[in-house]
């Protein structure tokens, strides 16, 4: 195991050890890195891994050259005087060089003490502000420059209160798959979930509560006003969402059934193949205060459906949030705010505060829309970037998977 602190100051406060050489990272796809070094800084004795047998390079080869270009990586190790480095650093503002940094000396990790040093940084207590719900703050939607604009998000639930003033200016496509019921929400659960995933982020009547506040909303009613639904209605809703090109499909529904239900394995995979990621609630069947950790039920236990656990305002796992079920697909994949979540509710009540993995799921669906907008990724690539970018927590991975879902923070190019 090799330790690198190249991303910032080391946790122990010591200065990083350096070699006196520099690491130059070229822009993605730069066709002629040696040419860039020559033209920019006059570095002439440039070796290129492409000139070596199977691109195998040793320490002596690097020492003998003023610069060694690792072609497959788009990176060079450069020995240069101050004037040359200044020229390269100045060029890093241009198109062909991404960064210039000092080469660091790395050490084999002596022990794992340092791994626990950061946990105090997580001790926190989120609360709703006048501007944003605690959930939007925790996932970083409050500070994200992305809004989900141009991305379609499906929420398959009990529908939406189509008269709700907070959605008056939004693009909403609503369809009911429940016999003899319209997409108008006669329960409330659906309106709450649509609010968290796609509702307003800036609001005069209370804290903003929607993660992807400019996403195109696809409301698929698959659960009745009395709160029940069947496979055939849910599958019809997924089919509609996939055909509509929804990048994220939010399903805050589940059954306390351990067995993986085969249709959802096929459906999760086929949806991903077509660029639609299904996100489902892990389930609320735990009672952790009494030693019962529960299990991820169907459909979240499908291997191709992202299972979402619920976090409280201290970013600890919620007492009801289900734990990973042994076996393929049974894991909790990620976690999101799911305790005391303020969101929209059918009029005239307008707002309601609820808890559950049902409330955590649309936080992930909304964040998925932001990543889809920010990266252009869909399907498996989108899944991967969300996992990679989630914030690890000092909580068992059995309960929180990859950790707290996070919204993209980088600025649009």
């Amino acid at each position: 195991m090799i330790n690198s602190d190249s991303s910032g100051a080391p946790a122990n406060g010591e200065q990083p050890e350096t070699t006196g050489r520099y690491i130059v990272v070229f822009a993605d796809g730069e066709p002629d890195p040696p040419g860039v070094l020559r033209a920019t800084a006059g570095v002439s004795n440039v070796a290129d891994t492409r000139d070596f047998d199977q691109q195998r390079v040793g320490a002596a080869d690097i020492a003998n050259a003023d610069a060694m270009v690792f072609s497959k990586l788009g990176v060079a190790v450069v020995s240069a005087d101050q004037r040359q480095m200044d020229a390269l650093r100045a060029a890093s503002d241009r198109r062909d060089i991404a960064s210039v940094t000092e080469e660091l000396i790395h050490h084999v990790l002596a022990d794992t003490e340092s791994a626990s040093a950061g946990s105090a940084a997580y001790s926190t207590q989120f609360k709703d502000s006048s501007e944003y719900t605690w959930g939007l703050q925790a996932v970083g939607a409050d500070s994200s420059p992305w809004t989900g604009k141009g991305v379609k998000v499906a929420v398959l639930d009990t529908g939406l209160d189509l008269t709700h003033p907070d959605f008056a200016s939004r693009s909403v496509t609503a369809e009911s798959f429940v016999k003899d019921e319209t997409a108008q929400d006669g329960h409330g659960h659906g309106t709450h979930c649509v609010g968290t995933s796609c509702g307003p982020r800036i609001l005069a009547t209370g804290p903003g509560y929607g993660v992807a506040n400019e996403a195109e909303i696809f409301v698929g009613k698959v659960m009745s006003d009395s709160g029940s639904g069947t496979d055939s209605d849910i599958l019809a809703g997924i089919n509609w969402a996939v055909n509509s090109g929804c990048a994220a499909i939010s399903m805050s529904l589940g059954a306390n059934v351990r067995q993986v239900h085969p249709p959802y394995t096929a459906v999760g995979k086929r949806a991903l193949d077509q660029g639609s990621m299904i996100i489902a609630a892990a389930g609320n069947n735990a009672d952790r205060d009494n030693g019962n950790y529960g299990f991820v039920g169907t459909p979240a236990n499908s291997p191709f459906i992202m299972a979402v656990g619920a976090l409280d305002r201290q970013l600890d796992i919620a007492p009801f949030s289900a734990r990973t079920l042994a076996g393929r697909g049974g894991q909790v994949d990620i976690a999101a705010p799911g305790v005391y979540v303020h969101s929209s509710w059918p009029m005239p009540k307008r707002y309601n505060t609820l808890s559950g993995t049902s409330m955590a799921t649309p936080h992930v669906a909304g964040a998925t829309a932001l990543w889809a907008e920010a990266t252009g990724y869909r399907g498996r690539e989108l899944w991967s970037v969300i996992m990679q970018e989630s914030r690890r927590l000092p909580v068992a991975s059995l309960d929180a998977g990859a950790g707290l879902v996070r919204a993209p923070q980088f600025r649009p190019a």
């Binding site: 659960m223 069947t230 496979d231 997924i238 096929a266 808890s355």
Partner: protein, 76 residues
């Protein structure tokens, strides 16, 4: 009984043909979900084995039901 038929991957582009065969085998079809390769409907218990044996059928499952808590419940 109600059933959900998962169409096998190699048959996804011919889902209409699989539906025709399911009808011939005695299934009453509610929906053909083209994007997902799923067919929902019902069949008599006596015809179930014939449906399961068809080429292009990956699995036949009985649909599950899902229930949300009452709107007033604290945990959803």
């Amino acid at each position: 009984m109600k059933i959900t038929v998962t169409v096998a991957e190699p048959y996804l582009s011919q889902i209409g043909g699989v539906a025709d065969q399911l009808r011939s085998a005695g299934m009453e079809i509610d929906q053909v979900l083209d994007a997902l390769g799923m067919i929902t409907g019902s069949v008599s218990a006596g015809r179930l084995a014939a449906v399961e044996a068809l080429d292009g059928v990956a699995s036949v499952d009985q649909p599950m039901g899902f229930e949300l808590p009452d709107p007033g419940d604290e945990v959803q």
